[in-house]
């Protein structure tokens, strides 16, 4: 039941509090003396040439969407795993079909060369 999550909420509270406290504290104690050169991004001591945000290739998109898709697949494994013993062989077969279909898809993208980084 949700009561079990009280430690997590406490943990979250602490996690949020620490950076807030440190930032405020440091703001108070540190000497404030900004300069244009000091605020520049540090690139091994060389003056930066370009914007840090370059354009990514579309391949990242394919990788990202494959990640999302297989992530969704993983989510379905959880309710199966907690019921594994009870679902028995039949559950194993159900999950086998589910994963089998996705494995065919995986073989397909692999052979199709979508994962190759040329």
């Amino acid at each position: 039941m949700p009561q079990n999550y009280v430690p997590i909420f406490l943990f979250m509270g602490v996690a949020f509090a620490i950076p807030a406290v440190t930032l405020v504290l440091f703001k108070l104690v540190r000497p404030e003396n900004p300069h244009k050169t000091k605020l520049m991004p540090y690139e091994c001591g060389i003056t930066p040439l370009d914007d840090a945000r370059g354009r990514y290739t579309v391949r990242f998109y394919i990788v990202a969407i494959l990640f999302v898709v297989f992530d969704v697949e993983t989510i379905f494994l959880l309710p199966w795993a907690v019921r594994f013993r009870w679902l028995g062989k039949f559950g194993l077969l159900e999950m086998g079909i589910f994963l089998g279909i996705l494995i065919v898809g995986y073989i397909w993208i692999w052979k199709k060369g979508a994962l190759e980084w040329v």
Binding site: L87, G88, K89, F90, G91, I101, V104, G105, I107, W108, K111, K112
Partner: protein
């Protein structure tokens, strides 16, 4: 929780799902086989897809026989804990989807070679989208219906954008995807409200709960909100005005064979879902949704027929014409769910969808065959003088166009006839008059194409060559269009059979 696990599902459950299972297996097979095929053997994919459809048809026939053997006593077979119901209504739609997909594959085989996009994924996607359609037609649980809808829709988005080097195709896919995703969201919201109202995802239970709910509280705002959002999603999927904006662009940009597929099978699936939800789940809200349907039907017929008058692109013109046909079919639903429900209206929709499958696919097959390496062939100028270039095709196209316009000896007439008959039976004389008026409008723009084919000079005088597969597709659609027109009894009885004991109208017993 029930006891032994082996008792959960019986062989009957799997038999009901067999058409889908077979299609999925073949689609997966195509994906794997395609990896091993050298480029010049790609036509094997089309063959594999065709065999898959044949096997699936055999499975549907097996279920069909089970009904024939069981006699009139058996109303419907449900499976998988009531989430799926393969009744006669679903079987009828299964046949429609399989025929539509089969003809679309015949049309695609040569066309894809011309486009140089002959990949196995294309056929696999068609088969997967048919699986989705089957889930929509046989789904009796809104979860299954929604997943089926998404499966069909996502496959179709990809198919629309399949010509990646063509900017129109890309644009069409993007528009279709964005608007489709948006409408699915609205639809899902409506379904979630229905679940919240009734506490069930099963359409039967939703219908029963809504019936008691509406009796206690006839104007519950939440129920109305659920109805409006659900029907918005449904109208979007069948492309009824005012939710039609995606259709002309998607139809124009998609590969032509896919445009044909979208206009028949995808639309039929949308209709299967709409009829199921309106007649099973939402039926108790009939007094509220009938005025809504009247408005949408009139808007659809008016807007689409007027817009079609000025189109110069054949695919766009046929897109608007297909929207107009949705308007006529909605009239059938109005008659079918008015205060004295008329089965003729629903039967009319089923007949309409059947004849529309053949005549519209035929028209798109002719347009597909105009595509060459150097000619896109989807403008009205491209079809000019077709009689000198390909006399047989021109005559066939004329038959399809006359059938689309609803001229008596052809198939299209019977679709309109039943709809108008049902309107008159239920006393909607004004609606019938409006519909007949717009049917005349339709004749004008169809005859514009005919005029170009027969009266104008050809810009491009080369004869049109037909691949064997395309010739088969044209032959099937042509024979069916003429055949249904001459021998309509068999097909009308088939539609009646699928309806006679169908679940939807049973709910009428709740109102007396």
């Amino acid at each position: 929780m029930p006891g032994a696990i082996s008792q959960w599902f019986s062989a009957g459950d799997y038999l009901l799902a067999l058409p889908m299972i077979l299609l999925s297996i073949f689609a997966l097979g195509i994906l794997l086989i395609d990896l091993m095929l050298p480029p010049e053997w790609k036509s094997i994919n089309a063959w594999t897809a065709g065999i898959g459809l044949a096997f699936s048809t055999a499975a549907v026939i097996r279920i069909h026989l089970a009904y024939a053997r069981a006699g009139q006593g058996v109303l419907s077979y449900t499976g998988f804990m009531g989430s799926m119901m393969v009744d006669r209504f679903a079987i009828y739609f299964f046949y429609l989807f399989l025929v539509g997909a089969g003809i679309a594959i015949l049309m695609s085989a040569h066309y894809l070679e011309i486009e140089r996009e002959n990949h196995g994924e294309f056929y696999a996607l068609i088969l997967f989208s048919v699986v989705g359609m089957m889930c929509m037609a046989a789904g009796f649980d809104i979860v299954l219906i929604f997943i089926g809808l998404e499966l069909m829709a996502i496959s179709t988005y990809v198919l629309v954008g399949f010509l990646r080097s063509d900017r129109r195709s890309n644009e069409a896919a993007l528009k279709y995807l964005l608007l489709g995703a948006f409408s699915s969201g609205i639809f899902a919201y409506g379904l979630s409200l229905l679940y919240g109202l009734t506490g069930s995802t099963n359409l039967q239970l939703i219908g029963e709960h809504l019936a008691t709910h509406m009796r206690e509280n006839p104007h519950d705002p939440i129920a109305i909100l659920a109805l409006v959002t659900t029907s918005t999603g449904l109208f979007f999927k069948i492309a009824a005005i005012p939710f039609h904006q995606w259709a002309p662009d998607a139809y124009e940009g998609a590969p032509t064979s896919i445009t044909g597929f979208m206009s028949v099978a995808v639309k039929a699936a949308g209709w299967a879902m709409l009829l199921r939800i309106f007649l099973s789940g939402l039926y108790p809200m009939r007094p509220i949704y009938v005025p809504l349907l009247v408005f949408v039907a009139i808007a659809t017929m008016t807007g689409a027929n007027l817009a079609a008058l000025t189109q110069n692109n054949l695919k766009r013109l046929l897109a608007y014409s297909s929207i107009a046909h949705v308007g006529y079919m909605l009239l059938g639903l109005i008659a079918g769910s008015s205060t004295t429900p008329s089965a003729t209206g629903i039967q009319g929709i089923l007949v309409y969808l059947l004849v529309y499958t053949f005549m519209n696919l035929g028209a798109f097959a002719v347009i597909t065959s105009l595509r060459r390496r150097d000619v896109i062939g989807d403008e009205i100028d491209d079809i000019a003088g077709l009689i000198t270039r390909a006399p047989a095709e021109a005559v066939l196209m004329l038959i399809f166009l006359l059938s689309l316009a609803g001229i008596p000896p052809l198939a299209g007439f019977y679709g309109k006839y039943f709809i108008f008959l049902s309107l008159i039976e239920t006393g909607h004389y004004q609606l019938a008059a409006v519909a007949v008026l717009y049917a005349v409008f339709g004749l004008y723009y169809y005859m514009r194409i005919a005029n170009a084919m027969f009266m104008r000079k050809a810009v491009d005088t080369r004869p049109v060559t037909l691949s064997p597969a395309m010739a088969t597709a044209l032959a099937i659609t042509g024979i069916a269009t003429v055949g249904i027109g001459i021998f309509p009894d068999l097909f009308i009885r088939a539609a009646g059979w699928s309806l006679s004991i169908a679940q939807p109208l049973q709910l009428t017993s709740l109102f007396h």
